[in-house]
Amino acid sequence: MLYIVQTALELGFQYALVAMALFLSYRVLDIADLTTDGCFILGCAVSVTCAAAGHPFLAIPAAMLSGAGAGFVTAFLQTKLGVPSILAGIVTNTGLYTVNLMAMGWKANQSLLRQDTIFTLFRDTGIGGNWYAILLSGAVTVGMGIILVLFLGTRLGLSIRATGDNRDMVRSSSINPTFTITVGLCLANAMTALSGAVVGQAQKTADINAGTGIVVIGLACLIIGETVVGRGSMLRGAVAVILGSILYRVVYALVLRSPIPIDCLKLVTAIVVALAIAAPTLRQWWAFQRRKRAALSACRKQADGKEAS
């Protein structure tokens, strides 16, 4: 059980950054950014390749920078060239496949054997004991969350939020939507790449297919978190994605432990995602059915009462 909790916390913190990126692009900026899958692998590939070359720390900003670059391409396609936002993400994502191969030296995967990673270096300091991986992942994610919440309160951050909230208003105020969308997508994809970078160094490997479907998982974490924590302020959103991500990993670990065969994992993921997204609607439907039944039975009682008299 402790092992499940530890794994869930570690993976939850690491993948929470993807959900945080989606919170920024999908919730705040109101853009469905499908660059995520490729961008995650890009961060992973750049990070692992840098670490393999003996630069585990440099790997992190390098990965974030490459992610921001991917975000910039998507933003450029949709703001300057008029490509619809979903297509822009898909196009960038497709191109990233080749870029990712390139980043790993034209190989489909890259492993770290004896090289230091931020995790091994942190373990050697002795801080946190057995919980070192959770501590480090948590620090990165919570730190990023704090930076994001603070950023969204600045002039630029408020402008980005207004861009997603009311395009009409933005058009008639002194905000340049091209600029805010570009900054927002660069930042979101830098966070996705950061997630990939941390995951890559934790697992000591990068694989060209490691990020397939990550956007769906990120979205699931976001929505699970919002179902539990609720929506509202930016702080609430940042807490929601971290909590949602951890909860998702708990469910995931439980499924792995259960008799459900491992081959069914993707189907279970899809069902969990669908249920999480449908939860508010289902809850409403259920409440309505109960009200209706109560009203009907009250009616019937009244009618019965009249007949009896």
């Binding site: 600045t154 009311n166 208003m169 008639s172 002194s174």
Partner: protein
């Protein structure tokens, strides 16, 4: 303050839908002028505003604001100097952001903060917001942390007015900004408009379909028809003019009667 030189705009040129919305408009506004604009639907009132605000670039002519040629300046850059309100109260504020955040957005766009992307509002700024909100007399100063989406149309329009004028703009454009409000609220927002425009000595243009308002407010009145300003009333000539006089003058200027139910209905 604002100068338009032979400004023209034709939509869909060369097609059956060709429509000349502005036809060589030339006009100069002095600093502190408060102009009310009336005219039938399709006369070019809103197009005039859109041209000045930079929603599109004009086909011909030049637009100068405070001596600066802004003819080809993109809209978002003009809006640092031009405040604007629309008929739809939903257009001017971000519904999921709090009152405080909306005000911060408007406040931080000033020249002082223009390049400072990471500036935040301080405690002193928040006190300023509170004082400004109190002036609206709608109790909004106690709801600063609530999302704007919870406010009524009138409250949102008053807030938008405050946001547009908190940092005094060189020009304020009001496009029927009280038309979607109930009569009582409209009256209140109009009163606020008068107080702010006169208090800050703003240069302002206001489109209205209410002839009475058009004559009561401001110091100058334009009548528009077919993309031209057919009547420019000011000073002695404007004083003591009644709504009936205005209709007569319009017929003389445009060569036809003013055909707009809303104008006729709002005479009283």
């Amino acid at each position: 303050m604002l100068e338009l030189r032979k400004v023209s705009k034709t939509f869909n040129p060369g097609t059956v839908n060709e429509h000349t919305a502005l036809n060589g408009v030339s006009v100069t506004l002095a600093e502190g002028d408060f102009v009310t604009i009336v005219g039938s639907n399709g006369a070019g009132k809103s197009t005039l505003f859109n041209a000045v605000a930079g929603d599109f670039f004009v086909d011909q002519g030049a637009i100068l604001l405070d001596g600066q040629d802004i003819t080809y300046l993109p809209g978002y850059r003009r809006s640092r100097q031009i405040g604007r309100l629309f008929q739809d109260p939903m257009r001017g504020t971000a519904p999921h952001m709090t009152i405080e955040e909306n005000l911060a957005l408007a406040y931080l766009r000033t020249a002082k903060h223009q390049k400072a992307f990471f500036s935040r509002v301080s405690k002193a700024d928040k006190e300023l917001f509170r004082a400004q909100l109190a002036k609206l007399d709608m109790g909004l100063e106690n709801r600063m942390r609530q999302p704007v989406g919870l406010l009524s149309g009138g409250q949102r329009q008053a807030l938008t007015l405050l946001m547009a004028t908190m940092v005094p703009p060189k020009l304020l454009l009001l496009d029927e900004h009280t038309a979607a409000l109930d009569p009582g609220t409209a009256e209140k927002v109009l009163k606020l408009t008068r107080e702010i425009v006169e208090g800050e000595h703003l240069t302002c243009m206001m489109i209205t379909h209410n002839m009475k308002n058009a004559l009561e407010l401001g110091n100058r009145t334009f009548m528009m028809d077919a993309g031209r300003i057919v009547l420019d009333l000011k000073g002695e000539e404007r004083r003591g003019l009644t709504v009936d006089d205005l209709l007569v003058r319009f017929r003389a200027g445009a060569g036809k009667a003013l055909d707009n139910d809303r104008i006729l209905l709002s005479e009283g």
